[in-house]
Symmetry: D2
Subunit: 344 residues, 4 copies
């Protein structure tokens, strides 16, 4: 870390900073600049916050040099990870597509969706049973009933399943019925939940928060991995900006950026990012071209009747076209959309 002293820092203030650093085991280097003194401190970043340096008199600012995350960093592993959800790989050479409705609304709806997305080439089925909704008056999900329907759809189609969990109770239920759990954007910094998911060992889809920096997102993943669960897949789903023409702004640069910083696989959600049916296909193609390891796409048998997120859901027909476009773009960047081994 680098400690920048203010122009008016006095000798005893500099001395105090030096002592504090040395007391915590840092090695101290002074650099006398044209106007300012800069102190280089060599040691472990974990301690920075506890040092209280920024509040010491004469200190102008602290510039951390090391990244705050360790286990999820690219450096810690050297190569990219692959997360295995039963017989499906996320990461590596595969381009994996997760699809299904925003919410599980009924047995008929989900089974219809599952059959169609499987036929088009999805490998993972999504469907929400616990819906975090902005309004207390909106549909909140079928809860355990929804999970059972997901399990049935998985059994019938051979698709593996993912569902969002929103607290400890929903996590415990989900662990019984589905193959992967999703931590949603609004819970990305629900640190208790991250720890519980970490302890569960279950594959996790960790969505980026609406206003989370890349660093905060990786720190959220660090919470999960630090509990011993390495099966984390990151999901970029749009950030909140001043632009309101789309629901959120899909930050696609995050894909190659994160793949340089972390070994974890990264997928993209063009449905929530844009909020508009007609932007889903172009942004899905773009995500693949940018190097994403997969996609998560909302597909509903009848979007106009969807209880949730209809405007951004594809019809099964649209999804089928999307999959064939995706295959072509994936091939252009050296990726494979693997076919499910047909067990049905």
């Amino acid at each position: 870390m680098v400690v920048v002293m203010s122009l008016t820092a006095e000798p005893e203030q500099i001395k105090a900073v030096q002592q504090r650093l040395e007391q915590y085991g840092y090695e101290v280097h002074f650099i006398h600049g044209v106007k300012r003194l800069v102190i280089g401190a060599v040691g472990d970043r974990k301690e920075i916050a506890s040092l209280g340096l920024e509040a010491m008199p004469g200190v102008e600012k602290i510039v951390p040099i090391m990244k705050p995350y360790k286990l999820v960093s690219r450096e810690s592993k050297g190569k990219h990870s692959m997360v295995r959800v039963k017989n499906v790989n996320i990461g590596g050479n595969d381009l994996t597509v997760i699809a299904g409705p925003c919410a599980v609304e009924s047995r008929e709806q989900l089974l219809a969706a599952a059959r169609r997305v499987r036929r088009s080439g999805a490998r993972v089925l999504r469907g929400g049973a616990f819906k975090p909704r902005t309004s207390p008056y909106s549909f909140q999900g079928l809860e355990e009933e929804g999970l059972k329907i997901l399990a049935e759809a998985s059994e019938e189609t051979g698709l593996v399943t993912v569902t969002e969990i929103i607290d400890e109770a929903s996590l415990e239920l989900a662990l019984k019925y589905v193959d992967m759990v999703q931590v949603g954007a609004r819970n990305m910094q629900n640190f208790q939940l991250l720890r519980q998911v970490g302890r569960s060992g279950k594959p996790v889809l960790l969505k980026r928060g609406l206003s989370s920096t890349i660093e905060e997102w990786l720190m959220a993943a660090e919470y999960i991995v630090s509990e011993g669960n390495e099966n984390v897949v990151l999901c970029e789903r749009g950030i909140r900006t001043f632009e309101s023409a789309t629901r959120n702004t899909l930050d696609l640069s995050a894909v190659p950026l994160v793949k340089g910083l972390s070994h974890l696989p990264v997928i993209v959600d063009p449905s929530h990012a844009t909020g508009m049916q007609r932007l889903v296909a172009p942004m899905a193609r773009a995500a693949v071209a940018a190097g994403a390891d997969g996609l998560i796409v909302e597909v509903h048998p009848d979007p106009c009747r969807a209880l949730c997120d209809g405007p951004q859901s594809l019809t099964p027909e649209d999804f089928d076209s999307l999959m064939s476009e995706i295959r072509t773009v994936a091939a252009a960047v050296g990726r494979v959309v693997r076919e499910a081994v047909c067990s049905v």
Copy 2:
């Protein structure tokens, strides 16, 4: 609500929208514009999401006219509410100051802080026992031990207390020891937690999320109030913007804006908003001048040794000066900083 049809909407698409609206009990009005058809639909906003209109062919967009919140709206009550935390009022003519350290670190630290902030004129003591931290490697709070210390400080000084809760377990503990619970910025859309807090009936300090719109913030309050708990105090604490010179951007316009939209009291947190000691006093004065019902300020007996948020904590001396500035500005806008009745 107003449904704007696209330029190319066909008669049968218009018909379908009309039927969908009528089926849900809406009264339908057609306005034939120069180029576009606009459909006015009179009915209850609660249903909008379930109608799926935006996904219907020929529909360009939906413009809601009514506000999505009801119980917290100014209109529902006509006048401003006052929240009572034991013998302390938040709202009305009073200007109420909450103060104390970011985290409860030890019995000595908290009691020292409590005595000093009480003497300077604070009425409520803050102190975190459960700390949501960006890094899993940072200090996470003393948990129940911290709550006991808060209760002891309250007993000794007569101050009422507030602490942040982060999940159901911490809420249950907090209900036993403190007078008011805080839902932090990162949990503003943790809807399960909002419901639990709502059912508890306890006074709640609801911080605005880092990237939450005013409408989403009021909807979060609606979650709590819709469970029967009207004792909600809103707290503006800065939003995330492109400007990184301050920790967040304090959106002070939110104070008069929200007081026009809702009957709930609104206070301001200049410490978290700015992240810098030297900005706390000017922004505290500004908040009072803008019409805030109170302030929440971080005060630490020794900011350089704080385990959390030292750089933005005031010393007891600085806080004492701040309180006398606040009294003057409060008087200038017709507010009173009420003295505690001295029971000590």
Copy 3:
């Protein structure tokens, strides 16, 4: 337009709004909602601002229904435009690549860059002669000398040229030497300059402002086209958001979104958007997959010696690899990177 009256609007206030609307030739429709009165006003959007309705007592808000832009709207033309810069097309089936250094630094540097980018497949040469720099102490460009070098490079290589103009004087010089002028992000709302560029008739590359909405961007294009110059190419180059890990956030969704709203061609600048060499290629591929009509990429013979934007400049070797990746992705989405007819 729709005028939403406040809950407490009185009959004479409603009457006054009606009269104001009718006086300006609007046709008025009343919709009596559950609580509020909504007034539909049919007429020409151009007049809205002059009506002063939002300031009238009893008016809560105005919701415009029609888009504020006309000439650049998709509806005005029905199909997509193609802009012709001498023998090069931007739009249509072609995928056109503009490349070259941020700034013209010397004859040697620019000629070296021009030869290399031409060989790799670029059709347009970029190079700044007037540089808007954040600091008055940074290199500001070679001015007319730089334009002469551009003209010479064009003559030698057959590439057409584009350069940024920053005021009337630089525009007049540029008109003599280059084939296309660029209005930079910081000047997107320099309305005088937009008008002058409009009157010049020269092909224009209009970059999106750092914090401009899609609608403001199209209104800037409307300024140019309303002066009779239809040769406008839009360029998405990243917007300013809270995320500081990249220089800006590339808003790639803007590409398909704008192509739905406007007939103008849209290209993407992955160099300025990301500010990082290693993100240029993935975001360039993504832009093509999203449907962009072209790219503008910074290439420098020796990025470490660049006087401007070195960290985001590709070497000629990197650019060559990029071009072959681009050809593959372009083919996957049905686009052609046309070869220059070899005149050299």
Copy 4:
């Protein structure tokens, strides 16, 4: 400056960075961290951009230590400046109010406004003659005719005047008729214009750009001062954020922050920042309490008939109340709203 080398930096890469630094006259210090090498380079920040270090192999990032602005920095002067516009001071102990309509619409309108705002206590009259408008179809200002009306109003009332200039031509006209020129938010980085304004020597009101950081704003002021014009007043007028409930987000923390970084006076524009009449008074009070040196407020004799910005304009009656509130708050923070010496 501090150069952070990447984990994989090789000895010859380190050597090359060292040589580049030494060649440009920097003194080089090595700090060997736990994992990374950090190079401290002592020298003049002006040169950083030209060094091209960020593009050199093995370099991870550059962390500048010194501020990029010099002449406007607090350090360069030691105390706060006062800008004198004829007989009016901005800065120091005075709280100076600028008021008037958004645009000069007619002689009658402006004279009526001038008389009223003078009577209420404003010292400077504002009025736009050149209006930068988002739409080419909106009212664009009376140009020279408007300036003449401003001059007449000044003569009659004794108020000094300020008007926005948008290019060299409008600047030259304004220099003849008004006492202070305003560089608007959209032109804050129109560097040519900043230079011209700098050379003119005229007092300048420099508005912060919609998406400009504090540092960029101060660099824009540096452009003006570096041409020899020290009469710069900064104006915070709201930044663009995700929140759309107000027109912009007033960043009031910028006031105390900038007063710590620069010696220039800072005023606040609550009208453009909020865009809503009813928020102007509370945010004006807040600005004074936060330490602003003045305010600029839109006042129109008949806001409902304003050709521009009616919804945010105060009536003369509202402005009169505002001024008496302002006097009280100013007194509470030790400021004086000085009365004009009555020459009329």
